[in-house]
Symmetry: C2
Subunit: 412 residues, 2 copies
Amino acid sequence: MIAIDPARLRSRVETLARFGGLPGGGVTRPCWSPPYEEARAWLLGEIRAAGLEAWVDPAGNVFGATGMGGFGAERPAVLTGSHIDTVPEGGILDGALGVLAGLEVLQTIREAKTAHRLPLAVAAWSDEEGRYGSLFGSRAFCGTLDLLRVEEMAAVDGERLVDAMARAGFDARRSGEAKAPAGAVAAYVELHIEQGPRLEEAGIPIGVVDSIVGVRRSRVVFTGQADHAGTTPMERRRDGFLAAADYALKARDLVVKHGGGRSVTNFGVVHVHPGVSNIVPARGELVHEMRGPDAKTLEALARRCASLASRVARRRGVGVELRPMSATAPALCAERVQAAIEGACATLGLGSTRLYSAAGHDAQNLAAITDAGMIFIPSKGGRSHRVDEMSDWDAIARGANVLLHALLALAA
Amino acid sequence: MIAIDPARLRSRVETLARFGGLPGGGVTRPCWSPPYEEARAWLLGEIRAAGLEAWVDPAGNVFGATGMGGFGAERPAVLTGSHIDTVPEGGILDGALGVLAGLEVLQTIREAKTAHRLPLAVAAWSDEEGRYGSLFGSRAFCGTLDLLRVEEMAAVDGERLVDAMARAGFDARRSGEAKAPAGAVAAYVELHIEQGPRLEEAGIPIGVVDSIVGVRRSRVVFTGQADHAGTTPMERRRDGFLAAADYALKARDLVVKHGGGRSVTNFGVVHVHPGVSNIVPARGELVHEMRGPDAKTLEALARRCASLASRVARRRGVGVELRPMSATAPALCAERVQAAIEGACATLGLGSTRLYSAAGHDAQNLAAITDAGMIFIPSKGGRSHRVDEMSDWDAIARGANVLLHALLALAA
């Protein structure tokens, strides 16, 4: 039975980990950064060396393919992929696994000369982690990028997307040209680490993703009054930070209580102005993220949080403003793709279970234009977005082989 | 009766406000910054033009004097002063008033050829607001600067004091040479805006300060675990920010409840690491400031807050570290100086009341080496450390004339 080369895959994973690699392990490789651009050049070289067609689209997405002449050719392609950007101090598998396993699968099929009716392709999507805008590359490819917003997209440190892309040799304003022709993709399958503890704890090697959570991000800004932190009586202070702190604690409890057991929330970005020890903060600013697999629950949570923000602001004598930053709806995976993955598991004698993805993925954009699905393998200790994120090398090989057989089934 | 020139004083206040002046009013003039250095050069010129002796010591403190040849001469000097640095987006009077009123008083006395047994001097102390270390210049002058810490002193943006002072032409390591000889200062009186609402609300023109609050600053660092903000179950998160938020809200209530009605607290600096919307914060960091006029109460509050921090950390599964940054003890003003100020008020027919200062001042350092006191005038609306901080020009003239007569009484 055809199988991938686990040593070659591992070697590529370890090589890619060196671009932006950190002294104690883990990687910081944000999209468009110098280490990212070096990694992208290396990846293109590997695709070419594997004997595959290689190209880059105007959104910076990298493709490798066998048996096709770009998207929109006569026969639609069966596509796999993921991303090679990372969060700051992230791990070596998140994204990288899906791209390099896809490359390994295509190389294996090409070298084995295995027949496949439809062409096969692998993608490395730009800025999945959203330094400038999450799932940027796959949004451009799927035609859901808001081109009017490209000019204002910027990283938290203020760097603009147009400048970052220009440095890498791209014109951000032309990202829309990356849109795939209608009907160009026959199916999409993405291999990824679970990033949570469910598979490991259940002792099941393969997760078949049935849905992907929606993610809502808003900026919540409480505005009070800067005052002297010694001379202003405590009861007269209008403290923007304490209001933000109060809101964060209560919103967290609200999401746990009303989220149906599957919704989560986070306050990962916090800014206080003017940020001086002897001045009462005039402004407390949070980025409030909420996720859940159910669209209605997510909507209801957003409404509850908005009214909570108003109550907290009123009680503390400050103003509050909610600015929506992004919102993706939960996405359903195609039954046909789930069946192909389960068929591959059966072929390989591997147990599997259906589960939802608690993280956003490029697959959710692809789900809007084609039949999409995802394969999960266990994450050690459920760890993710951390330098010590890992999976067993055996589990990685199992996941890549499931991808191989699922792609062949979908391309047959 | 001898009196200051209110128009000349106002003109100098308005001129000084232009160094680091902001478009909508107010000033940003941190110590050692380019606008500060320009303001310092201008002040030296004004002192000289007023016919006073002028010099700068190794800590960057600026002095003007009449009838003396520097500190440690035969007769001790009666000293006044304040500072010309400001907080970011501060007002035009905080500090500036005490320096320019002192200059105006000395110039008035010199021009009127009024007899005074002891020499008179005015100081502009470096970095009162503590960009690098609060009350820096007066600490150096009073011999309480910890020279071993000078190398590590740095602003919140990371800039080191030694570099900032070197840019201004000073060697920070030599700041200790600014120490005044024992017995060089006969008394110290500082004129300042109240920075709170008490005088205005009571309708009393002059405050005679009887004590100055002690200020404690600590860095409180909660360390949890960075995790993926989508895939990590809510109950397993070890969120450094939510722990910091919980602590801040509870510590605020604790200080209000156990602070004896006169202690205050603030969290003006907040940092979250890694600071990304889709990562659970591994670390939440606060600068916790507490002030109070009573040393024992302040000590007890610090102990209660330390145990609160441990409880919050334990309950939330994170670690916590408290790093003391600075601590000044509450200072008592000398009865002799308070009497001199009250005598000046009687001479001028002005009502006065004794009160404590809720803000730290250079006078608290001077209180350790001489008889020290402070004169307060009302702040409009109690506003302070804000661009719209202000007092009436008439109130300013009244305060300067009280300073004039108090200094003459102490120098007689």
